[in-house]
């Protein structure tokens, strides 16, 4: 399939795919701000995200076909250590594919919910902000320059604050949530940039590959170690690593449904990608201080996130809040996989990252459907919906089972891989904790499923009303993907394994 795409694509697309991937949405965003009609803006957004998906597929094909497994693009034709370079290997290619694929599905699904939740005059502006956010996330995933990464991170974050605040039309609590997110997010980005400053002071370069090649000769350098600490904290804050996640539950529960869905599936994932890039490509696990931080910081934090946030999810009455806390817990699984420090562990973490994006995307799409037709998002509002909206709720149930990790779903496969990686290191006690956390997931998702399928509808206003077709199609695409990839893991697991090998700087292709 990749061959057909590479042969069919025009030459300019093959040559300039890395930069076009980011530039198409970024340049269409200001144009959208001038469009008077929201529906046109929606269609342009679909076009922009679909173009990005097309370029992401080309890049994946090119990376797999390339003998070194790297595609790099010099911006403005400035040579590498001086100019900014876009550098794509198997790890970025996977993240780019994830972000752009979710972007297309999210945009297709967005119109009914945006039309219902956002003020009519702001539709075009809303899509404009969304495209800026999307371009920023793609930029973070593609750039090979540490400072450029900061700029793209802030481009995506600033537009995210705006998007979250637009939930104020439905619930004014979106405003303080967005403000809190702004303060925390800015501090996180600032920590990251301090860390980059330390690395720049030690190495004199900002290019990620160049920094990585110079660090081994600087072993034991204090400013490198300080830079490491700042970068891990800063990116950890953006990725909602426990206990730096306090911005996440509010931001996810009060923002517009579409924003919640898009952010939960992409934003924290991209920040986690940046963290992995620094942990494995720039700093190596061989460095003594990094090994120590894996064992004594990242692993305990990952385990704590899994357990404590799953407990918190059990006690929520709002479905979106439950899912938000569950997101933090799932980030814990990924951090746990990363902190094992082996290729198997990292590929399990990345595999779970892919699967979790599909799971949470589907869950939040279904919740968006409920918000659209019944307004409320408490568990009580969900009672009896299994009968009035069977298609929406079946999609929700499939994703929920996948989140729990029931066999034959994608969530099961990634937990299995995580278990293998842990057993390989002899950490059976961590496997016990993973299983325990999955039991907590049974409880918190089970409460919602029980209300949906086995309780009588309490609210008499609820009539038979399914979510609109634009919402159902992407929802079912993701739900079926959860089942398909739960049975046939070859494609995502291969992507994750290649990505993990690329993160370690190894050449690995099937």
């Amino acid at each position: 399939m990749m061959d057909i795409l590479l042969n069919a694509a025009p030459r300019w697309a093959l040559l300039h795919a890395p930069v076009l991937l980011v530039m198409v949405p970024l340049f269409l965003a200001p144009v959208l701000a001038l469009v008077p009609n929201g529906r046109i803006a929606w269609m342009v957004s679909i076009f922009a995200t679909a173009a990005s998906l097309f370029f992401a597929l080309i890049l994946l094909g090119q990376v797999q076909a390339s003998p070194v497994g790297v595609v790099s693009y010099d911006i403005g034709n400035w040579p590498m250590p001086i100019g900014i370079v876009f550098r794509v290997d198997a790890l970025n290619a996977m993240i780019l594919l994830l972000v752009s694929a979710i972007g297309v599905l999210a945009t297709v699904f967005s119109w009914p919910t945006v039309a219902a939740e956002i003020n009519k005059q702001k539709h075009a502006l809303f899509y404009s902000a969304f495209l800026v956010c999307f371009a920023g996330l793609c930029g973070v995933a593609i750039t090979g320059d540490a400072f450029n990464l900061f700029v793209f991170l802030e481009i995506s974050s600033i537009s995210t604050y705006v998007l979250v605040a637009l939930g104020a039309g439905r619930d004014r609590r979106a405003l303080p949530a967005a403000f809190n997110y702004l303060i925390m997010g800015t501090i996180g980005a600032s920590f990251y940039i301090i860390g980059v400053g330390f690395l720049y002071a030690a190495t004199g370069t900002l290019n990620i590959a160049d920094i990585a090649s110079q660090l081994p000769s600087l072993a034991g350098n204090r400013s490198v170690e300080a830079g490491f600490a700042f970068i891990v904290i800063g990116l950890g804050l953006k990725a909602a690593m426990w206990p730096l996640h306090s911005w996440l539950p509010n931001a996810y529960s009060y923002s517009p449904s579409f924003v919640t869905m898009f952010l939960s599936a992409t934003a924290t994932k991209v920040a986690l990608y940046a963290l992995i890039r620094f942990l494995f490509t720039v700093f190596r696990p061989e460095f003594a201080f990094e090994q120590a931080s894996f064992t004594f910081i990242l692993m305990p934090l990952g385990l704590a996130a899994m357990i404590s946030c799953s407990f918190q999810a059990v006690f929520q009455t709002d479905v979106r809040r439950t899912l938000a806390y569950s997101s933090v817990a799932q980030v814990g699984y990924m951090i746990l996989g990363v902190s094992i420090g082996s290729i198997a562990g990292l590929s399990a973490g990345l595999f779970h990252l892919l699967n979790h994006a599909m799971i949470k995307g589907a869950l939040f799409m279904a919740v968006a459907g409920v918000v659209l037709t019944y307004q409320g998002t408490t568990i009580r509002d969900f009672a009896g919906l299994g009968r009035s909206a069977p298609w929406t709720m079946t999609g929700f149930a499939i994703a929920a089972l996948s989140l729990i990790g029931v066999p034959l779903t994608a969530g099961f496969q990634s937990k299995l891989q995580l278990g293998y990686a842990l057993f390989e290191q002899g950490m059976w006690w961590a496997v016990v904790l993973v299983v325990f956390s999955s039991f907590l997931a049974v409880i918190y998702m089970g409460r919602i499923l029980e209300a949906i399928f086995f309780q009588a509808p309490i609210n008499p206003r609820k009539s038979r009303k399914e979510a609109p077709i634009f919402l159902l199609v992407p929802l079912w695409v993701l739900a079926l993907a959860n089942i398909y990839f739960g049975i046939n893991t070859e494609f995502p697991l291969g992507l994750a394994r290649d990505a993990a090998a690329a993160a370690f700087g190894l050449e690995a292709f099937r």
């Binding site: 040579p79 250590p81 702004l182 800015t186 009580r380």
Partner: protein, 171 residues
């Protein structure tokens, strides 16, 4: 010891500013003051980068004097300047960290980076202030604690209302 401290006076100032900014952004209840704290924090980062770029004895990074070969033409020899820039570029790309220059220059790169960071900071600040305006419209206050108290009251009221509706529906 004293020398060690005095040598790094600029760093101490930066660390002090950073801590002040971070503390304000967490400890203050007033939303505008929190933004002020974040701004101070970001400004201290700019100072940090500028400090990194300073080279002892270096001047402003604009090529002059013997570095522009044959500068007799009154300094407007554009081609010669290009040649000098090319020399710097080749030195950097061929793996050498220093080009052959007669004068010492400060490193211009951190300043350029900070121009970008300042723009980012201004954008964040303006979005933050716009959010505060909206919070003031929606809540009538810009104190974080009061906003939280109002939210709590509404949540409790909503809960009570819902329970009442439920009981009526059952009855």
């Amino acid at each position: 010891m004293l020398e060690f401290i005095l040598d790094r006076a600029n760093y101490w100032a930066i660390i002090g500013l950073m801590m002040i900014g971070l503390y304000i952004s967490f400890a203050s209840g007033n939303l505008i003051k929190r933004l002020v704290g974040v701004s101070i924090f970001q400004t201290s980062i700019c100072l940090f980068y500028v400090t990194l770029g300073k080279v002892t004895g270096g001047t402003a990074p604009i090529l002059f004097g013997p570095d522009i070969e044959g500068g007799h033409g009154g300094g407007h020899g554009a081609e010669e300047t290009h040649a000098a820039v090319d020399a710097v570029l080749t030195a950097a790309t061929s793996g050498e960290r220093y080009a052959d220059l007669a004068n010492t220059y400060s490193n211009p790169l951190p300043h350029v980076l900070m121009l970008t960071a300042i723009v980012v900071g201004v954008a964040t600040l303006s979005v933050g202030l716009a959010l505060i305006v909206r919070i003031r419209e929606a809540y009538g206050t810009i104190e974080g604690d009061e906003v939280r108290a109002i939210d709590m009251e509404t949540a409790i009221a909503q809960e009570a209302e819902q329970e009442k509706a439920e009981r009526e529906a059952r009855a």
